[in-house]
């Protein structure tokens, strides 16, 4: 994790948030949130009533003043919540900004001359030369050369990465440093639009647009606000019939308690905090819309290699043919692999040592002749001390055996097929005319993948493994990893077709990719996470970039998306459920003069009508503060099915939200009575 985590205890952020909370009282800020705007209007009205009462010595200025005081604090608490979320984003942005130093660039002119210009003047399409020790001045694509680059500023990963022209590793990011060699980079972004700039803008919330779900929730909250405005506005004429006069501060108090202030106050903090969680995971989303879509994903397309399995196959077993000892086979396999620097080759040497105690040997004196692997022969091996050892694809090695005068052994086919069916790759080993046995090369599934897929399934998400392997192998690996389906011998077109097919059924598809040939599929997918190490084309096609280039991150992205929505839903439910208790506090108190018999509705036994109303207002304000940590952290997420999740959240936030305020309001009332304010 490269992103600094800030907590509620982070003093600087809290201090700034307190200041911002006051600044946000500006009605031009509040008007964007109808719920809180109503609170502000109510606060102003109550304050005005307080002032008039104070000057004219009428009414109950002490009460009006109290109500006004707590209404302003309701607003300040809401502002504080938003400012905290923004502050945490800003802290992250500052950390990023520190990595961006004003650099100069060597711009390559048409005549091949370089000119030293400030990096901020670079435009899309400019060519720059970067040599070892220099900072890359802007986002771009390597068009010539190869270099090792330190990208730790962006990814937090300290090991340098290789960037080279052509292929899938050509993208470089401004603000990273070339450690070796010389590259020519074509700039792909204009000033202020670089990757880093977008990231800073995003975490700061500067470019924050409301997501579709936020818009819809905003309408629901506006509806509830209107309904309660209606309920409260009709009370004076209705009460007038009964001969009761309800003072304005009481009406405002009732209104503020009824409208969904809890969720209204926290909704933007929840959105910003969700984005921040994503950034903390080193994933950069191009929009909030993409994060929400992640929560809705039905199908995950995961590349086998590097995502489900470790990147390379490893030797798992030596299977000698009848009449050959395991040791003999391992010995031959090791000899054939000593010069093989591929991960497979090395794993054979490691397995020979682990199983049969064979150590690496020094062959220099024996003048070995290594036969490298070629796509044409499809085998490799060594000629040493009169021995000719070969390993490779079954057909190739058998042809070799026959050419040396041997005959293909009876049992070989069966062994080879067994290995293939189990998802492995068989490598046949032969010495001259004699086939010795088979090395079982196996895809190694990453730890914990099975349980991850299980939790995804519980969430209703189907995982599809995409691989270039043949269907037999793919099926075996799919079974072992526990994915729901697989796409074997997949070409980019197949992948695209699969996404289209799923989408035609109304499903949302997420995938990861890094290559240029992934770009169309990334663009087509509803959630396309591009690897930061991938090409510019891939990054532009996707709607998220994973700075760690870790394809399994997709699972976390889905969880963050879901958590974001769940937090909104939970607090909306809580907010509405709270109203029941507030009604029982305020309504009897409001009409008590006209109808003394309503005292029996005071189920909480609140001390006086004044303290009943004040307690409800104070509780309403304090509950916002109490829920700020929940809004910033998100509600506890568990990979459960829809029914179980709904039951759980309804119990906690619905039933809990109904009961808690009865206790809370009573507690505040007791405190008020103890303080002599009742």
């Amino acid at each position: 994790m490269s992103m600094p985590r800030t907590t509620l205890r982070d003093r600087a952020v809290v201090r700034q948030a307190v200041v911002d909370a006051w600044r946000k009282l500006d009605p031009r800020v509040q008007v964007r949130n109808p719920v809180m705007f109503v609170v502000e209007a109510g606060s102003l009205l109550t304050t005005a009533v307080f002032a008039v009462e104070l000057v004219s010595s009428t009414g109950d200025p002490a009460f009006s003043g109290h109500v006004a005081f707590w209404l302003w604090f309701t607003l300040l608490f809401a502002n504080f919540a938003e400012a905290m979320a923004e502050g945490r984003g800003k802290a992250q942005a500052d950390a990023l900004r520190r990595t961006r130093t004003e650099t100069t660039a060597n711009r390559l002119a048409g005549d091949g001359q370089t000119a030293c210009v400030p990096a901020s003047t670079l435009r899309r399409g400019d060519l720059v030369v970067v040599v070892a020790g220099e900072w890359i001045p802007a986002d771009g694509e390597v068009i010539e050369g190869i270099a090792s680059v330190d990208e730790s500023a962006i990814t937090g990963e300290s090991a340098p990465v290789i960037r080279e022209s052509g292929g899938d590793r050509s993208a470089v990011t401004g603000g990273t440093r070339v450690l070796s060699d010389r590259i020519i980079v074509r700039v792909t972004s204009d000033p202020g639009q670089s990757f880093l700039d977008r990231m800073i803008a995003l975490v700061e919330g500067a470019e924050r647009q409301k997501t579709p779900n936020e818009l819809a929730l905003g309408i629901l909250l506006a509806l509830l606000t209107l309904v309660f405005l209606l309920v409260v506005a009709t009370i004076p004429p209705l009460a007038a019939y009964a001969g009761a006069e309800v003072p304005i501060p009481v009406l405002v108090a009732l209104l503020v308690c009824l409208i969904p202030t809890t969720i209204g106050a926290l909704v933007s903090a929840i959105g910003i905090a969700g984005m921040n969680r994503l950034v903390q995971c080193n994933v950069l989303a191009m929009s909030g819309r993409a994060v929400e879509a992640a929560g809705d994903v039905h199908t995950l397309l995961l590349d086998k290699t590097g995502t489900i399995t470790l990147g390379n196959r490893q030797a798992a077993e030596f299977i000698p043919l009848p009449g050959v000892s395991g040791e003999e086979l391992a010995d031959a396999a090791q000899l054939a692999s000593l010069a093989d620097e591929t991960p497979e080759g090395r794993s054979i040497v490691v397995l020979a040592k682990a199983r049969h105690g064979l150590r690496g040997r020094d062959l220099t004196g024996l003048a070995p002749v290594f036969v490298p692997f070629s796509a044409h022969t499809r085998m490799s091996g060594v000629d040493v001390a009169g021995r000719e050892i070969r390993k490779g694809a079954t057909d190739a090695v058998l042809a070799y055996v026959i050419s040396r005068g041997g005959s293909p052994p009876q049992d070989l086919r069966a062994v080879v097929e067994r290995v293939a069916r189990s998802g492995g790759t068989p490598l046949v080993v032969a010495e001259g005319p004699r086939a010795l046995g088979v090395i079982h090369l196996k895809d190694v599934i990453k730890d914990g993948m099975r349980s991850r897929f299980e939790s995804l399934r519980a969430m209703g998400i189907r995982t599809v493994m995409v691989t270039g392997d043949n269907p037999l192998t793919a099926a075996a690996i799919a079974r072992e990893a526990g994915v729901d389906d697989f796409l074997a011998e997949a070409t980019p077109e197949d992948k695209m077709a699969l996404i289209r097919r799923e989408q035609a059924e109304g499903k949302l598809v997420a995938m990861t990719g890094d290559g240029t040939n992934d770009a169309p599929a990334l663009a087509q997918a509803d959630v396309g996470v591009a690897m930061n190490s991938g090409t510019t084309a891939a990054k532009e096609a996707g709607n998220m970039v994973d700075l760690d280039s870790n394809p399994t991150k997709l699972v976390e992205v889905v969880e963050i998306g879901k958590q974001l929505l769940m937090t909104r839903g939970a607090l909306t439910t809580f907010s509405i459920a709270n109203d029941v208790a507030k009604y029982f506090a305020i309504v009897p108190a409001m009409f008590l003069l006209a109808f003394p018999q309503l005292a029996v509705l005071n189920v909480m036994g609140l001390a006086t009508p004044r303290s009943a109303i004040l307690s409800a207002v104070i509780f309403n304000a304090l509950v916002i503060v109490a829920l700020i940590p929940l809004a910033l952290k998100g509600v506890a997420y568990r990979p459960l099915g829809a029914a179980a999740l709904l039951r759980r959240n309804m119990l906690v936030y619905g039933l809990g939200g109904t009961i808690l305020p009865f206790l809370g309001i009573k507690a505040v009332d007791l405190l008020l009575a103890a303080a002599g304010l009742a």
């Binding site: 819809a216 019939y241 949302l508 909104r568 839903g569 109808f595 509705l601």
Partner: protein
């Protein structure tokens, strides 16, 4: 009385039992599937459609559907207005009843066009035979058919996948009338005829009483009207006393048949939903939620009425048969309470006793049915109203499970929330603002009892009367707390406007909502999908309806029935 409890339970069970096959039949009719009835009514239906020049194969999108609905209703409204005003000069007027005064005609035309059947007149003296038959009975068929058509269009929208049309309103209207309402009314009318309900073109007869006085006994085309009045959640009676009148409701059997008829089509609509959207569990859930709202209200009303009025024993009035003021001795307190709750829950509005005389909490139970307006509800529109609550519940529940909310595979987004909000907001707006204006007018007028004269007993009960009138108009129910002098320009115009807006806003907005959902692709279910048919979601929906209803109407409930109840002497 204990036998009455058993009768109520039995009537509910029979109503539910009958509603299941009827619901299936309705679904078949509107899905255009063959039914055994085709040979009988097929030709009639074809004839009507040919006569009116409707192209039965042409589908309508929600705008066209809503436009057809509004235009056809507007035409019927104008015709009703004209006939009510001119009835004194028109034929079929054996009792020489004069034309209606303009504000009353406006109110009455609006009332019958909107399936409300609020009556600020008394049938015996206010309407000619022509008005009763050609306007009232005709509209009782057409408005129920309109509601059923709207519900079916909404259901088609829910079932559709990238669908642009919701059906054809004209075809739906004719189908509902010809294939559902007409045959069922015929059966019920025949039963009522058999029980003694009159059906004649003759006017009133005179009879000499035992004291030698003369009594005029009103008659008319009663049986046909009572049948559709009960079935079509209309509620407007032939006589002022409605089904408390011995001609409208002569026997225990007629009372049973009429009680069941109130509930039958509203219940059947829900079962039809299950067939149309091909999800039986969803229909079971919606039905169960409605039942779970209905039964507690019924329990309150029945126990309150059967328990008697606590102030009465002090006056030396026996309350062992329950609170009998304003009730028919033939029906008794329990069956009257059952009818009162059914008629308000379903937006029917017929009565078999005086609602004004209900105990305070019995009256509250009746009013709660009007406020929620989605407990089975009016024919078709009950489901449409519940649909709006479902959208709200789905939205909150969907977020709580971490997904963009969806109902039956359709995503609920900002546009849907806007339309649902519009439909949901209108109902409390009409009731609260209407009652506030009436209350304020009363309290701001000097000597209102003399000048306004619409309340005879001010205080919480008078408040309840005004509240009930607007609640009834807004719910398109039509029953009255009576006791309110409502045939004045103030009440005729305000409730007339409320009835019209409260009918069409909550129909057009959900039609638009269904149109928007229909156009969306249906997302397939997975383990992460909210199951709308599950018990958990049912509980959620129930809670949303109860909490929203409570929050909207608790203050008025406190000022009216609850204040009245708490003022009663305790220890009853």
């Amino acid at each position: 009385m204990s036998g009455d409890y058993g009768a109520v339970a039995l009537l509910i069970v029979v109503a539910i039992g009958l509603s299941i096959p009827v619901g299936r039949y309705i679904a078949l009719v509107f899905m255009g599937r063959p039914t055994w009835f085709d040979r009988v009514v097929g030709p009639l239906e074809g004839f009507i459609l040919r006569l009116s020049g409707v192209d039965a194969t042409r589908g309508q999108d929600w705008r066209q559907y809503a436009t057809s609905l509004l235009v056809s209703n507007a035409v019927m409204w104008l015709a009703a207005l004209a006939i009510f005003t001119a009835q004194g000069h028109l034929p079929f007027n054996p009792d020489a009843i004069a034309g209606m005064e303009p504000t009353l005609a406006f109110n009455t035309a609006s009332s019958f066009t909107t399936n409300t059947n609020l009556q600020h007149y008394s049938g015996e003296t206010g309407l000619s035979l022509l008005s009763q038959m050609v306007v009232v009975t005709f509209l009782q068929f057409m408005t129920a058919a309109t509601g059923m058509a709207a519900a079916m269009a909404v259901m088609r929208g829910l079932a559709g996948d990238r669908l642009t049309t919701l059906g054809n309103f004209h075809v739906d209207l004719v189908r509902a009338a010809v294939r559902v309402l007409l045959p069922m009314s015929l059966v019920i009318a025949l039963v009522l005829l058999g029980q003694g309900t009159p059906m004649t073109f003759d006017g009133a007869v005179s009879a000499s009483t035992l004291e030698g006085g003369e009594q005029r006994i009103a008659r008319g085309v009663v049986a046909s009207m009572v049948a559709i009045k009960q079935l079509g959640t209309n509620g407007g009676g032939y006589f002022g006393a409605n089904s408390a009148h011995p001609f409208e409701n002569p026997t225990a059997l007629s009372n049973a048949v009429e009680s069941i008829s109130i509930l039958l089509l509203p219940m059947a609509t829900i079962w039809a939903l299950g067939h149309v959207v091909r999800r039986r569990r969803v229909a079971v859930m919606v039905f169960a939620v409605m039942l779970a709202l209905y039964l507690p209200l019924l329990a309150v009303a029945v126990t309150q009425e059967a328990g008697g009025h606590p102030a009465m024993p002090q006056l030396g009035v026996d309350q062992s048969a329950g609170a009998m003021e304003g009730k028919e001795v033939r029906m008794g307190s329990v069956l009257t309470a059952f009818w009162a709750v059914s008629t308000t829950a379903t937006s029917n509005g017929s009565v078999n006793g005086m609602l004004d005389s209900l105990t305070p909490l019995g009256g509250l139970a009746a009013m709660a049915g009007l406020w929620l307006n989605c407990i089975f509800g009016g024919v078709g529109v009950g489901f449409v109203n519940m649909f709006v609550f479902i959208v709200i519940a789905v939205f909150v529940a969907g977020m709580m499970i971490g997904r963009t909310p969806e109902f039956l595979g359709k995503r609920v987004e900002a546009k849907e929330m806007k339309l649902a909000s519009l439909a949901l907001l209108w109902h409390p707006l009409a009731i609260l603002v209407g009652t506030a204006i009436a209350s304020w007018t009363w309290s701001a007028t000097a000597q209102p009892g003399d000048t306004l004269a619409w309340l005879r007993n001010p205080g919480p009960h008078g408040f309840s009367e005004m509240l009930y009138e607007f609640s009834s108009a807004a719910a398109n129910n039509g029953s009255g707390f009576e006791g309110l002098g409502d045939n004045t320009p103030f009440w005729n115009i305000t409730t007339g406007v409320v009835m019209v807006l409260s009918r069409y806003v909550p129909i057009v907005a959900p039609l638009a909502l269904a149109g928007s959902l229909a156009a969306k692709p249906t997302v397939p279910d997975s383990a992460g999908t909210l199951q709308a048919g599950s018990l958990t979601f049912g509980v959620m929906l129930w809670a949303v309806v109860v909490v929203l209803g409570l929050l909207m109407f608790l203050p008025v409930a406190v000022l009216g029935p609850i204040a009245e109840f708490l003022a009663l002497p305790t220890g009853s």
